[in-house]
Amino acid sequence: MTPHAKDRTLELHNVSRSFGATVALDDVTLTIASGEIICLVGQSGCGKSTLLRMIAGVDVIDGGHILLNGEEVSGPSRFVEPEDRRIGFVFQDYALFPHLTVEQNILFGLKRRPKQEAASRTADVIAHIGIAHLQGRYPHMLSGGEQQRVALARALAPQPDILLMDEPFSNLDRGLRERVRDETLSLLRGLGTTVIMVTHDPEEALSAGDRVVLMKAGRIVQAGSGYDLHDRPVSAYAAEFFCAFNKVSGVYRNGHVETAIGRFAQALDAGEGTPTTLYIRPQAISVSRGPGDVSGQVKGRIFLGEVEQLAIAVDGLEQPLQVRTMHRLPPDTETVGLTVLPDSWLAFPPD
């Protein structure tokens, strides 16, 4: 948009925040470049929404610094009020003012501008988002999807440097959610807006963001591309957040994890004999009626359409292995052979 677009960045340095005895944010450091779309993801209570509120300035931080375009906005000696930060916010409940029409809601953020300019900017945004037919209505007359678009239009109207979105699609029905998400993100990419979006849905995080930031108990667990987080998780927590793994206990010896279903090569920063858990994805095990690396008994089958999920008991394992396969096994199959695909496993020593 403007020539300086690339300079706009948000920096968080050692940001902390506690509510009484609860630590909501613990030493969070993160830098966001202009035009990036970031997904903050984690279970509820991990501090992701708190972080959003700190960036917006509707809450204060206890420690650290937040810099916007290189200028400190939250810190020990300085606090810029939210109204002076040029940040847009789409709230989980949309927070549309019920006493104002759609048009008045959008005008709300343009009160500091001259009347003419505010009116023409409102008209632009309404046209761009495609909500001209809604502009005279009140929020309670809108469907969930319409409210979401109005909330987006209202947040974008003042041309914020950064757009924050707190679970913006969680109030929508499942079918609608994906469509609205795709439309919204392609619109934001087209505008080149810097976006920080909070979600608790792993799939949404992987698909929506240029960069995914996984949080747990107020700390950043891992930040990187969706591929990084899914394929190369740094911890058992990160691994399990994005995928339901088979967990097989074993022992680390001589560069391998030794388990009841075989030896798996894995370089680990751990001493010989360290108890280690092997993580195998359900789709990384191939199953056949012929012999495999190990054999097992089919204990349960759940047909999911595209794939079938099998529960297979293997001697020496407490839990049956969960296997997802596109291969159709005859109904009377009892004994199967299993093969773990090469280089598909992960291993972490227990905490």
Partner: protein, 552 residues
């Protein structure tokens, strides 16, 4: 760029609101604090006189009165609440809101009305004698209404709605499943009330009774007209007839101790139960249809307390007022009193609502321990009876007046006299202290319905904290603020003890006029004043009944 990021550091938004709320809390605390100081300074000689003569009798009377009124309001409040929730009969809908009507009749007005209605040579007793064949009051008369029993009964019949309102709400929100479950467990329909509904409603009854007893402690007119010498009456006479401020403060303190005991009683009576609204929306209680004959009986039973607490006095006041207006019209003195009443109440309402806004919004901007305490402290005055607040205010403002007067005399050689006490400022101060809880509580409840995300949305869209208040909170809580204002206004109009003690010389309101006439035993324009107060008092009843309907 439209707005440059402000480059100078400044305090967080809300600091000024917090400071304002702090000042309000101090203002409210000051009279209570002063009362303690004054009582502590009181001469010991006077105290021993008080302790040996006035206090024991007054304390005993107060406790008997509280027990009696507590019992009557509990019985009337719960039984009427159960009547309109558990049974369906013709007229039930009307009864539901009509049972609130006695709220419109202040205690001193019901006493005033019944003194005349039940006068030994009045028409009611005359009719009874005529029916029984007696010829005069020497042969037969009803027991004198001027007694402890009379006082307990009359107060009970106007104060029971304090129990009726929360108890009925409790019966309504109690899940019908609980009642059904108890019936499948072998409890008869009749026993459900005693074994399930009543124990569940206990917290509500406790809250209601304690509110009714607070009103009883506040009452000065009824007890005095009916010859019951309570602590409140003693404070008044100690100050008015003996000008003994330390003595009055000491009695006021003992009255405060009774209030504290009352609050403790409420906590105890509630037990460990709390109002709880289940996550699931519970099925509403289904009233049972009764045969027409029994329905008529129930309707009559429900109408009885309304008739005694509202109907009879209202009819009496209307007819007396009518007679008076026909006979003499409205005097200019009466119109001046109307003006005084409205102006004083309006001024107090405006300030009280503003202060309430300050307290409620500060807690919203800065939720935390500090604002929780500010809110608690600033609403303390509601529990304190009007006489206690009045004595406290008197001490504070007399000190200020003395200070200003001596300063002005020393610097300019002019005496300012009693600046605050003489101007009615003292009365406004007392109204604010007493009714800030209503305004702050009502506005707080109104604000609580606005999601916090609205505040955040407004802030990130460029509004300051004050702008957010103006553009978002004010339009969205207009109804709550208006309702709070109305309640404060009506309470100011009805308030007697503080008005009596603190009004400027020669300024009369409806309430003090009525008191004056009743004290002198003359029956002139008081009925018009009383009728005016009752009519104004009906306004919040309408509001309450509407809120009740909206909830259903």
């Amino acid at each position: 760029m439209i707005s440059a990021v402000r480059s100078w550091p400044r305090g967080r938004a809300g600091a000024r609101w917090l400071l304002g709320a702090g000042c309000v809390a101090c203002l409210v605390m000051l009279p209570i604090f002063a009362l303690f100081l004054q009582a502590a300074q009181g001469s010991t000689g006077l105290w021993s006189h008080l302790a040996s003569t006035i206090l024991p009798a007054a304390l005993a009377d107060t406790i008997i009165l509280l027990c009696g009124v507590g019992l009557i309001t509990a019985i009337l409040g719960t039984s009427t609440a159960w009547l309109v929730t558990a049974y369906a009969f013709p007229g039930r809908r009307v009864l539901e809101w009509a049972l609130l009507l006695p709220l419109a009749v202040p205690t001193y007005i019901i006493a005033y009305a019944y003194l005349d209605i039940l006068h030994p040579i009045g028409s009611v007793q005359g009719t009874i004698r005529w029916m029984l064949g007696y010829s005069g009051p020497r042969e037969f008369r009803l027991p004198d209404v001027r007694s402890m029993t009379g006082c307990i009964l009359l107060l009970g019949f106007v104060l029971y709605p304090y129990v009726y309102i929360p108890t009925r709400a409790m019966f309504l929100t109690q899940s019908a499943n609980l009642i059904d479950a108890s019936r499948t467990l072998g409890i008869s329909r009749r026993a459900v009330f005693w074994h399930v509904a009543l124990p569940l409603a206990r917290p509500a009854v406790a809250v209601g009774v304690s509110l009714a007893l607070m009103e009883t402690l506040n009452d000065i007119g009824a007890s005095e007209f009916l010859g019951v010498r309570t602590l409140t009456v003693s404070i008044y006479t100690t100050w008015i007839t003996r000008s003994d401020l330390p003595g009055a403060s000491q009695i006021a303190l003992s009255l405060l101790i009774v209030v504290v005991a009352l609050v403790a009683f409420e906590k105890w009576a509630r037990g460990k139960q709390r109002y709880s609204t289940g996550a699931q929306r519970s099925r509403a209680f289904e009233p049972r249809h009764v045969p027409p004959g029994k329905g008529l009986m129930l309707l009559f039973a429900g109408l009885l307390p309304i008739l005694i607490g509202f109907g009879a006095p209202a009819i009496y006041l209307v007819s007396e007022a009518w007679k008076r207006i026909e006979f003499a019209g409205l005097s200019t003195r009466f119109l001046a009193e109307a003006f005084n009443t409205i102006i004083l109440a309006s001024a107090a309402t405006i300030i009280t609502v503003l202060f309430g806004l300050l307290i409620a919004y500060a807690s919203r901007l800065r939720p935390g321990t500090a604002t929780t305490w500010l809110q608690r402290l600033s609403t303390l005055g509601y529990a304190a009876p009007g006489t206690v607040v009045a004595i406290g205010v008197l001490i504070v403002l007399a000190t200020f007046d003395g200070f200003i007067d001596s300063t002005a005399t020393a610097w300019f050689g002019v005496s300012t006299g009693l600046l605050f006490i003489g101007s009615g400022a003292a009365l406004l101060y007392a109204y604010i202290v007493r009714f800030l809880a209503i305004s702050a509580g009502g506005i707080d409840a109104g604000l609580a319905r606005i999601p916090v995300s609205f505040d955040h949305a407004s802030r990130v869209l460029g509004q300051s904290a004050a702008g957010t208040f103006r553009h978002v909170h004010l339009p969205l809580s207009k109804a709550a603020i208006t309702a709070a204002g109305l309640l404060v206004f009506v309470d100011c109009v009805k308030e007697l003890p503080a008005t009596l003690l603190l009004r400027p010389l020669n300024v009369e309101t409806f309430a003090t006029h009525l008191y004056g006439e009743a004290a002198r035993g003359t029956y002139e324009e008081a009925s018009i004043a009383a009728l005016a107060i009752v009519v104004i008092g009906i306004l919040p009843v309408i509001l309450l009944s509407r809120m009740g309907q909206a909830r259903q």
